[in-house]
Amino acid sequence: MLACVTLLAPFTALLVAVFLVPVGYAIGLSLFSEDHKGLGFGGGITVFTGLRSYLAVLDDPSFMSGFGAIALYCVIFVPVVVVSALALALLLDSGLVRLRRTAQMLLYLPHAVPGIIAALIWLYLYTPGLSPVIKLFAQADITIDFLGLHTVLPSIVNIALWSGLGYNMVIFYAALQALPREVLEAARIDGAGDVRTALQVKVPIIRASVVMVCMFSLIGALQLFTEPMLMNQATPMVNSRFTPNMYIYDAAFRRNNYGMAAAASVILLVVTCALSYAVTRWAGRRDRSAR
């Protein structure tokens, strides 16, 4: 009993301090906010406003469009990152690649670069007049606008991909390393080639990892902030409420509306929890039915 408490204490303490207390505080902020009368001049008083902030957030087209942007981002980002990370991991695992450790490290290296730095570097490469890439293309008479109306989302995906690829590859690679060798041997004896072994033996066995990576990418996407926030400085195509997280930041620090910022945070939390639950349930059911 004592051991149980001791072992759980650090986790519980952290959970309470960095998750439950802030969530409680946010819920409090979302229910109590400044209230004004008429034109509202001269400052307001903080009172219990119930669900008013929530209704305002849900009534705001820019909050909803943030989820739209995230959905579009996911549609591009999740398949690309999962498929390419999986392909790289399988290549490394197949033994076809020489200098495996070096390759692994090189691919993982971008993940070690803080997101904000990576975004800054990419922004430099995207900005007309600064970017050597654009200059290079211009010499070949090709005009590229990385920050245009339709190219800006792929540009953001590219930044995230760069750092997410190596990380997810390591997860897949670790899972592949844990595969029982006798299964692979059996596959080979049965006459399966490298590609067939990879796709029909290895991938199904590490499906749990694939689902996990999908879920993390999805949750990560909902939290999207750093990259578009920086892009917002460079192009009006990324507006200041481009993603739900940016909406929250904008509400709190540009509009001084803490009630709405808190309400939007709580809504985002609920959506994230619901989505994670749905993905795990769905994966679990498929898992069971597969058996």
Binding site: G38, L39, F41, G44, R52, A56, P236, M237, N239, R254
Partner: protein
Amino acid sequence: MRWTRKVTAALLTIFAMLLAGCSAGDSSDTAGSGPVHITFWSALRGSQEVVDEFNRTHTKIKVDFEQVPSGDQGGWAKLSNAARAGNAPDVATIEYPQLPGYAIDGVPRDITKLLPDSVRRKILPQAMDLTTFDGRTYAVPVDIEPMVFLYRKDLFTKNDIPVPKTWAEFESSARKLKEADPRSRIASLFTTGGTLHMAGYSWQAGARWYDTSGETWHVSMDDAPTRKVTAYWQRLLDDDLVRVEPSSSQQWRAHLRSGETAGWLAGAWAAGSMMSSTPSGKGKWAIAPFPQWDLKKPTLGTQGGSTFMVTKDSNRPKEAMEFISWMVTSPAALRAKLSSGVSSAYPSVPELVSVARKEMDTSYYSGQDIFGLFHREAKLIDPRWKWGPRMVSTTSSGDDGLARAGAGSGTILDALREAQRRTLPDLKSLGLSVTTH
């Protein structure tokens, strides 16, 4: 959040005490002798010179000045945060559009009684109206900026293009200029900063994006005059008669220098800005009255301009007001401001125009009497305009939409409608009484 403010204040006090360390007790803040110190934040150029002049000529009040970043560079957030923490300066500078938002957040003090009548009477009534809501005054205007048309006189003359007096003429001049020089455009459709320009154009046409009658905010950023204005600009945009670019951007300045952008529709302050940012344009630029919809009934909007507020946090409101009154009405203050370089800001006190006229070297504009022009134009400013409660985010939403319109996605009117849609939830969540019509 009252208690957060208290906790923050307490924390700051503890921090200050720790910093003060052993020197605690030296503070002469409450001492009866010596001058009263007040703090002043501004992003306006020339503020340091004005403060120096004040401190030189005044013994009872000393002003401690801090140059803060301009609004969109972090100045707005800095002031909001300081006010929330309870340590805003005694006097702060703020532009007209942002004033209602701050007044709703309770940052400025209600100075209706504090402002001496002698000062109020000197200020252009239209300027005073922009800082007064429901009979309560929240700031003192220092400059008001009637919109004017800066244009490349040499290019207009060379290509035999008349200087437009009306918007219809503006369009035909735009076409002629493009015909004469296909790379050249008469003016810009601004993306960043464009919403405030659209506001100025709509203001002139008689629009009222925000109306405060009957204790209620009536919001209509797409009323009939605005629709007239946006349809006009949409046509200029669709026919490729204006250049789409962010205001104050490098590319825009480069185009002004090269003559590819041959005009600039902006507040009177732009004259000075042009002189300092485009020295090579000396002798080439001139300033014309703003194009009108109807020459028989000329009206005007503004773009730019600043006000001074006494904050609620200030412990020295009387001294703060004395400093503000001096800055706004005294010729010495204006002279000090002009001494810092080139400013063509049009003073909110018309009787100071003669000072500005004398101090300003207008050889850049071939000696044109630009302040005389501003003086005539300022009288035309439509007094009915009011700014809304959350203009920082309203204009940034509008600017995003204008950038999309410029890229061919949606229209200028869509941009303004979207800005309104994105503003309303905020107003409602504050408990304000809001209608749209």
